[in-house]
Symmetry: C2
Subunit: 305 residues, 2 copies
């Protein structure tokens, strides 16, 4: 049996770049270590926030190699491996499993739209069969606003039935809490992580394991408190503060804004570098964001603000 991915707060880890837009590996390891030391129970590198689809397959593998070599516990990693081309998904998933990761996060093949459940099932089935590892744990990545390919309950049911051990859970970035709750109820043992810390406490109370979020790259210290205090009377007040931070961050382009905040926290200006089609956040927008965050009750938890 593989060591299970922990419950709790996950950051969809940002990928720091050099000015030439290649990955800054030492800084990537440093950021991931900082997240785990500051409220995160696990990390989801190479997701949407990590600009995964802006990297080649080789670059994505090298990024994971870096984390494992830096001593990040592999079972705390939920690595994004879902591509448009099934052979790419297979290569990345196999590589992640060989590193002993806690799970792999799979987008459906996302170029073609309005595809059938048969087609999506065939894609996931091909990956699972090709990787062929008992320790493979797949989390479905539901983010219809970005992928354009929703993952419906019938498909989940079918995959769970075919692969009850492998189909471990889902990251639901749709923002639709009722859908998350419905899936937690419909599929006992299916680990649905909320894609936003806004629903962290609500997800835990609905029986879910936690959240995986872009903005926990910044809010992890407070999100970690919410998770730690989940059984206590002060949890709701902390969640309220966390939600306010999240809602403020949400109003800005996430990747550029989060990278600009990382640059501010660490003093490394290169952190602002993104890959196209992202563009760096304008300095005035960062000032605006910082001012808004600083006015909130949870601001004292934000390092380097």
């Amino acid at each position: 049996m593989p060591v299970e991915l922990p419950d709790g707060v996950f950051a969809a880890a940002l990928t720091p770049l050099h000015p030439d837009r290649s990955i800054d590996h030492p800084r990537f390891a440093e950021h991931c270590r900082w997240l785990l030391a500051n409220g995160c129970d696990g990390l989801a590198p190479m997701g949407t926030t990590g600009e995964a689809n802006s990297f080649t397959v080789t670059e994505r593998m090298q990024a994971l190699d870096t984390l494992v070599e830096a001593g990040i516990p592999a079972h705390r990693l939920l690595v994004g491996t879902g591509c448009c081309a099934v052979p790419d998904t297979i290569a990345l998933t196999r590589h992640a499993v060989e590193h002993g990761v806690g799970g792999t996060l799979l987008l459906p093949p996302f170029y073609y739209k309005n595809v059938s459940d048969d087609g999506l099932f065939a894609a996931f089935d091909q990956v699972i069969q090709a990787v062929g590892a008992a320790r493979l744990r797949i989390y479905l990545y539901h983010f219809p606003q970005m992928s354009g390919v929703p993952i419906g309950q019938e498909l989940i049911a079918r995959l769970r039935q075919a692969y009850p051990d492998t189909l471990a859970g889902m990251k639901d970035s749709s923002g639709d809490f009722e859908y998350m709750r419905a899936n937690l109820q419909a599929f006992p043992g299916f680990r649905v992580f909320a894609g936003t810390e806004r629903y962290l406490l609500a997800t835990l109370r609905a029986g879910g394991p936690g959240c995986i979020s872009a903005t926990t790259n910044v809010t992890a210290p407070l999100a970690g408190q919410v998770f730690a205090r989940r059984g206590w009377p002060d949890a709701d007040g902390l969640q309220e503060q966390l939600t306010a931070l999240r809602m403020t961050l949400e109003a800005f382009p996430p990747i550029p804004a989060l990278k600009a905040l990382a640059a501010r926290r660490t003093g490394h200006a290169d952190w602002r570098t993104v890959r196209p089609p992202q563009v760096p956040l304008a300095a005035a927008r960062l000032d605006e964001l910082v001012e808004k965050l600083a006015s909130l009750a949870g601001a004292d938890t934000l390092e380097g603000l």
Copy 2:
């Protein structure tokens, strides 16, 4: 100066597969030769219809190698090279240019939605700078229904201004003929191909070069007649027949239906193989499609019906 991509009828060439879903290279070359001998002036391999995004970068390069080695004139090829990750787009575009292709067809990076023109400009700019070839001819691939990333007039204008020779044209698969006409008018010399043979004659009359279509994998013989007769009184009648064929084909899932028709025409059942998330067309649906096509006035132009 590179030899220019011809005007006329292009097929977004299907990619035949073996039963294990690897590319059947000899059959790919054979199909492309058949298209050029049966009404096509050029080919757009590795587009949406060619299931390009379901193949790895290496597989895509090998497919192009096959066509060039088989003697398909490279200047008649408009090769799809646009990926989510700019380094992949650069690698494929460079490879295509080294083969002397008539043009490369670039999707914008299509994972992230609601991105800015600045971000899209940066992506195309990075590709053009990295490939750095005077003979590079880029055609923008506008297919918002599939990519989720529209290409607006302001972006075209900006790219044309920065790279007047390189930004050669567009394949417009939006189905919005007014947008095609507007771009032909707004940008003299910009070669806007209609993404459907339904608008072949209308595009030619609006000053456009022709069409690039999925369904010309089947309708090429008639489409070629429309192009050949474009200055003659019978052109409208031929276009009417062509449109009827197209509209009938459009009601079926394009890739599986076109592959099923290719299987029928050639007698090779493996032609029906697709990559997920596509699924093969059910036999009953093929019968239905064949019956509908056979009832149309242009049916005598369809080989092997």
